[in-house]
Structure formats: C-alpha cells, structure tokens
C-alpha cells in the first residue's frame, strides 16, 4: 500500500498471497522464539490441546508482515515505473484485537488478506496519518485462523493545516 493516506478508502481489499507452514519452519521459529512443546515437537503436540504440531501465533503474524512487505515493494516499484512518487510508510504504534481462532498445523497453507478499515489524523504529525486495516489469514479449508486490526503511519500527500 505504498500510496498516500488520501488514497486509502474503507473496504479496499488486497489478497497478499499464501504461505505454506512446513513442520521444519514451525519448529525452527519455535526454537528461537516460542519453544512451547506443541510448537516444537510432534509427539508432545499430539497429547496437547492442539492435537498436532502447530505454529506459534507470532509465526503466523510474522508471515503476514512478510507478505505485506513484499506487496508494498511490488506496488512501490510499479509507482516508480510510472514516474510517480510513492507515499512513505512510517512506523506502527501497535495493533489491536489479534485473535488466534484456529491452530495453524504443519502442512497448512494460509491465504492472507488486508483491507482498509479507516484513516485518522495522528496528533502532532500533520504530514502523517494513521491507517487502520482489517487483516486475516484463512487456511486451505476456508477457516479463518487469525485476524487483527493493524495500525500504521502513512504519509499524507497534503499535510494537514496546522492549528
């Protein structure tokens, strides 16, 4: 979404692509960041609440970011190729209402989406505004496994008038 804040409209939706969660990648992520037995070991996972090896929720979330950044890069490249200037993305002050609705098991293929929820002013930064997004991951059975509301600063094409 390397556009300016003014270019975002509620409901604009983007398919970010899919990601296969292999057992190896689930265990590799877990070993560094979330070494709970059900993320790390098939046998332990079988006797756990998850029933089989499952990805850390942070792994599921980090892959959303990976696909989002790839989309941004593609869009920025296209905008530059047209001879236009892309809007800059700033940092994120955080996110809200992240839900892990279903486990992501080894072998699952998750399709990620993002859509525009709203744009808001950001106090003290007239050249920037806050973009709120509704984000989701859906598995190959059509089950939504993960949702959250993203919040990120986006450059304005026209700065707000200072009070």
């Amino acid at each position: 979404m390397s556009l300016f804040l003014e270019d975002y409209h509620r409901g604009d939706a983007i398919a970010l692509g899919t990601h296969l969660f292999t057992a190896e990648s689930i265990k590799a992520f877990a070993a560094f960041y979330d070494p709970q037995p059900f993320h790390l070991d098939e046998a332990a996972a079988k006797s756990s609440v998850f029933g089989s090896l499952s990805a850390s929720g942070w792994h599921t979330a980090a892959v959303w970011m990976k696909l989002m950044v790839a989309y941004e890069l593609k869009l920025t490249t296209e905008i530059l190729a047209r001879g236009e200037t892309p809007g800059r993305l700033g940092p994120s002050p955080g996110f809200r209402q992240m839900r892990f609705l279903k486990p992501v098991h080894a072998g699952d293929i998750i399709a990620y989406t993002t859509s525009v929820r709203a744009t808001e002013p950001w106090p003290g930064r007239p050249k920037w505004g806050l973009l709120l997004s509704d984000n989701a991951g859906v598995n190959q059975r059509g089950e939504t496994v993960f949702i959250f509301i993203g919040r990120v600063l986006v450059e304005r094409r026209t700065p707000l008038a200072q009070k």
Partner: protein, 180 residues
C-alpha cells in the same frame, strides 16, 4: 509445573532480561520484515525511528521467548486466544537490554472447558534507560490440572472459537475483512 491457580488477579512477576543483538535484528528482518528501517543503516538514519530498529514483530517474538523462559515452559499452557492490544511505544535498537514485568489483570474459569483457566495478562517491556518500549494486553489459556506423566493437560477436541473465551471480543465480526 504451575497451573491456573498460580495466576490470581494481581499476581506479578519479572521476566529474565534479553540483550538485543544486531545479528538477531537483521536475521528476523531479512526473513519477515525486510524494510529499510530494519535493515539499512543509511535509510534507517533518515526514518522516523532515527536508526536501525528491530521489527515490532521481532520485539513481540523476543517477549514471547522471555515469557517462555520466565514461566510459561513451566506452566500448563494451553495456548492463547489472542491479544487485545500491543503497543509499540519506542524503537528497540541493537544493544538494548530489555526487561519485562507481568501482572494478572483477570483470571476466571473457561465456560466451555472446565479444565481450563483464562488469564488476562498485562506485560510491560522496558529498556536499560527505564523507558517503556512495548506493552501487551494478552490472554493465556492455562490448565487447572496436570495429567500424571504428560506434563501438560490432556488433548480434547478444541473449541477455540472467538468470543467464547477470548474475551472481551468487541467487534470481532466487523474486524474480519470481506471475502475476496
């Protein structure tokens, strides 16, 4: 091994410190968040963060590991339904030493699974100068009992549906994007 009863409302603790290394910041960013502000010194110096900084998702992953090492690996953890809010307040830079505290805000039994407790936890992560860099308002599922020999609660068909135990779940339906 800790069970639900070890996490009453008001219970607090600290997590083991974590030193943020440049290598780890770059490794995480290359795989999951390859934006210049996390990878490129020259570009990062011009960004709003003022220097190369860890991805916020990396900060989350680092806190998750601190929680695991602090108590969760010694707890009858049954996963998490999610987080109400994560705030990225200050950048986390290579060389920072992170410490964290946790406070139980609410603890109740699950309505759908009598063997499980629902623990709402607030985490605050500080860096070496005392500044708060990140907070989490997060929910843990924690077993009430252990099954002898397994070290974790027994498997049952999960009923991990939003709204049942991941409270409060305001607006969850409207948070889902329209089907493409």
């Amino acid at each position: 091994m800790l069970t639900f009863s070890a996490f009453p409302p008001g219970h607090t603790g600290t997590l083991p410190p974590k030193t943020v290394t440049r290598d780890e910041v770059l490794t995480f960013a290359r795989e999951f968040d390859p934006q210049p502000m996390h990878l490129d010194e020259a570009a990062a110096a011009k960004s709003l963060l003022g220097g190369i900084a860890a991805s916020g998702w990396h900060s989350c992953a680092m806190l998750m590991r601190m929680i695991c090492d602090g108590f969760l690996l010694d707890t009858a953890s049954m996963g998490s339904p999610g987080l109400e809010e994560v705030r990225w307040i200050k950048p986390v830079m290579p060389g920072d030493v992170l410490t964290a505290t946790y406070t139980v805000k609410e603890a109740r039994l699950s309505k759908s699974r009598p063997d499980m407790g629902v623990v709402r936890m607030f985490y605050e992560v500080m860096r070496q100068d005392g500044e708060t860099v990140m907070t989490w308002d997060c929910t843990h599922f924690i077993g009430r009992h252990l099954v002898s020999g397994t070290g974790s609660p027994p498997y049952r068909e999960p009923s991990r549906t939003a709204g049942k135990d991941g409270d409060p779940v305001p607006d969850t339906q409207s948070a889902a994007p329209p089907s493409p």
